[in-house]
């Protein structure tokens, strides 16, 4: 994917650039708001990563101008910790996601990957989601794997739906917390991990091949290919 990064911090900018390049993205780094506006209007990008506080023109104004010019590339804001209102303001300006500094590179790459492929995913309103031998019927609210009906509670169902809509992509704890519970904070206890392990106990444990796997230091991934060729033992 082609990614534009607007970040004026001399450490953070190159770090983001190299981190995303390692994931195979083409990354243009600009340090100035006006430059970002010009670059984003003259070239096409799959994802925009914008810092809030930048010289000459702040990220919020850059995004507002871009959206006014009908440039709808998904945008992610990098916000400072103390900006409690930044998330709401960013979303109002037309951002699709946000990330609070300081952040882990795994969190950023996971979110960029999710943003980049969001458009085609949401376009198709499938009523049945599939991954390998797992089938989720959104209308009848049923989950079936290898012909067996899985007994999921409503939250587990939504959690599995989020995994199925983001196959082969890393989902971090905070992404799951946002998408399944619509909660925006950093819990101290391992609430999300517990929910995922309960879900795994139902959809993976009784079967030979696990679908959901842990991505070290980042989060989880539902990988249908693993179910067909992996010999990975199911995790507890």
């Amino acid at each position: 994917m082609k990614v534009l990064v607007l970040e004026d911090d001399p450490e953070l900018g190159p770090w983001v650039q190299s981190g995303l390049r390692q994931q195979g993205h083409v990354v243009d780094l600009v340090t100035d708001g006006r430059e970002a506006l010009v670059t984003a209007t003259t070239q096409t990008y799959d994802v925009l990563i914008l810092d809030r506080m930048t010289p000459s023109l702040d990220g919020l104004s850059v995004l507002k101008s871009l959206r006014a010019a009908k440039i709808m590339a998904p945008a992610l804001f990098l916000t400072a910790i103390s900006g409690v209102d930044d998330r709401v303001e960013g979303l109002e300006a037309g951002a699709d996601d946000y990330l609070t500094k300081p952040f882990a590179m795994s969190e950023l790459t996971a979110r960029v990957a999710a943003l980049g492929r969001r458009a085609p995913q949401t376009a198709g309103e499938d009523t049945v989601l599939r991954a390998a031998d797992l089938e989720l019927d959104l209308v009848r609210r049923t989950a079936i794997r290898q012909g067996q009906v899985l007994d999921l509670n409503p939250k587990e169902f939504v959690l599995l739906e989020v995994f199925l809509r983001n196959q082969r992509r890393v989902l971090t704890r905070t992404m799951l917390l946002e998408r399944v519970w619509d909660l925006h904070f950093d819990p101290m206890t391992s609430v999300v991990e517990t929910h995922v392990s309960r879900l795994r106990a139902k959809i993976d444990k009784p079967f030979a091949t696990p679908l959901i796997r842990t991505v070290r230091g980042a989060g989880y991934m539902l990988d249908p290919d693993a179910a067909s060729n992996s010999t990975d033992a199911p995790r507890p």
């Binding site: 910790i81 998330r87 609070t100 939250k155 519970w181 909660l183 950093d186 101290m188 206890t189 609430v191």
Partner: protein, 447 residues
């Protein structure tokens, strides 16, 4: 002297005295002229009466001759053939009617006279009375007024000065208190309430307000002092561990670093970041800026969501979660912050109860309660656990800011926090119940 002039009370009394002098002078002038007018009117009436009595034919001529000896009154007659009887000179008769004259001009003793000239049988009749008694009266009135004025002026200034000095002393005490506080004596107070007065005046109120403000400032300063000390203490451990790990990696760079060591580094870094994150959030919340974004939020729905999120963690650790959520419970607030508040209360309960404990989450009509049947908190520590970094135990991975953030969020929402024993308190296991009471919302408006 300049110090005296600076005193507001003295300035006021001077101003008042000046105003009093001007007013009295005007009033005196008016009084004197009114009195003298009235007196002259009176004399004119007398003169006219005498004139009428004398105006009868030939009576005037006789009277003029007779009155020759009278000192205070002079009567004269100018006959038609131009002969003057009496002390008057001819000039006295040129003008008819009454007027004040100098005695010299009309042939009388040198003094002020009131002169009346009328037409009489066979000539003009002039009657004059000396004005000396009137001048005397006016002089007495004027000097009386002057004396009263002077005495009042001195009294005014003296009272003003006395009040001013007294007020100045009290003001000085307030300023001295502020000075002492500013130079670091946080216990400095004006102790205004010690002044034995039945009806306190505005200065007493001001002094009392200063004391109240200083109380709050002292609390804030001490809190800030504690906060910095605690923060430094809180950060020392993870930073020391970080340093040890980094040093180990640096000296040991030939061997591949242990994955566990790197995880430990990240974990400690995250902990430092989390402490700063929480502190910054609390500071941000204290400014109250976020209140503009408040909307009607269903506390019951939010509590249900968080109960579903935390139930597996709580039950997975052998604890029990009991919920009693009656909704909708609409409060004005910020959904993200309210969810953080509930989460912090639940995490606090998890962190401070033994395995097997019961944790309760209750919502009913604008009130949210999280309780447990753990060891509880002694009553005297309850206020302090809401302060940043205050801990009832020394252990724990927590940032020590969870309940401080609960309080900051509650304050922002105008909610009141009350800590009490848990509902199933028993000796040794008092339990803890934290109740957050929100201001009553509008139940008609659901989210």
């Amino acid at each position: 002297m300049t110090r005296l002039l600076r005193m507001s009370a003295l300035r006021q009394s001077l101003l008042l005295a000046l105003a009093f002098v001007v007013m009295t002078a005007i009033a005196g002038y008016l009084a004197v002229s009114l009195i003298s007018d009235a007196l002259i009117d009176n004399i004119d009436d007398q003169l006219l009466g005498t004139a009428q009595a004398l105006a009868a034919p030939s009576a005037a001529e006789n009277a003029a001759r007779r009155a020759h000896d009278d000192q205070d009154q002079a009567i004269g007659f100018l006959s038609a053939d131009g002969e003057v009887y009496g002390r008057f000179s001819r000039a006295a008769f040129t003008e008819l009617g009454e007027r004040s004259v100098i005695g010299d001009d009309v042939g009388l003793e040198d003094d002020t006279w009131r002169l009346l000239v009328v037409e009489a049988d066979g000539g003009r009749l002039a009657i004059a009375t000396e004005l000396e008694p009137i001048s005397e009266t006016i002089r007495i009135v004027t000097s009386t007024l002057g004396t009263v004025l002077a005495v009042t002026l001195i009294a005014c200034l003296a009272i003003g000065l006395a009040i001013g000095l007294r007020a100045q002393a009290r003001l000085h005490r307030m300023l001295a208190t502020l000075d002492r506080f500013a130079t670091g004596d946080l216990t400095a107070r004006t102790n205004a309430e010690n002044r034995k007065v039945r009806r306190p005046d505005d200065l007493d109120h001001a002094a009392q307000r200063i004391d109240e403000t200083l109380d709050r400032l002292q609390a804030l300063v001490e809190q800030m002092r504690d906060l910095s000390a605690n923060l430094a203490h809180e950060l020392k451990t993870p930073l020391a561990r970080l340093r040890v790990s980094v040093e180990a990696l640096a000296t040991n760079n030939a061997a591949l670093p242990q994955p566990g060591a790197i995880d430990g580094l990240l974990h400690e870094t995250d902990r430092v970041i989390r402490i700063f994150d929480a502190l910054l959030r609390i500071a941000q919340l204290d400014t109250g800026a976020r209140r503009d974004r408040f909307v009607d939020t269903d506390l019951a729905a939010l509590a249900t969501e968080l109960a579903s999120l935390y139930r597996p963690v709580i039950e997975g650790s052998g604890r029990t979660l009991e919920t009693s959520i009656e909704g909708p419970a609409i409060v004005r607030g910020d959904r993200d912050l309210l969810s953080q508040l509930i989460a912090n209360l639940l995490e606090n309960a998890i962190a401070h109860t033994p395995d097997g404990a019961t944790i309760g989450l209750e919502v009913s009509s604008d009130t949210l309660t999280v309780w447990d049947n753990g060891p509880g908190i002694p009553a005297e520590q309850r206020e302090r656990v809401l302060e940043p970094f205050y801990r009832t135990d020394t252990a724990g991975e927590g940032s020590g800011l969870g309940l401080a953030m609960v309080r900051a969020i509650a304050d922002l929402h105008g909610a009141r926090i009350a800590l009490a024993d848990g509902p199933s308190a028993s000796p040794g296991r008092a339990g803890l119940s934290i109740t957050v009471a929100f201001p009553a919302g509008d139940p008609a408006k659901a989210r």
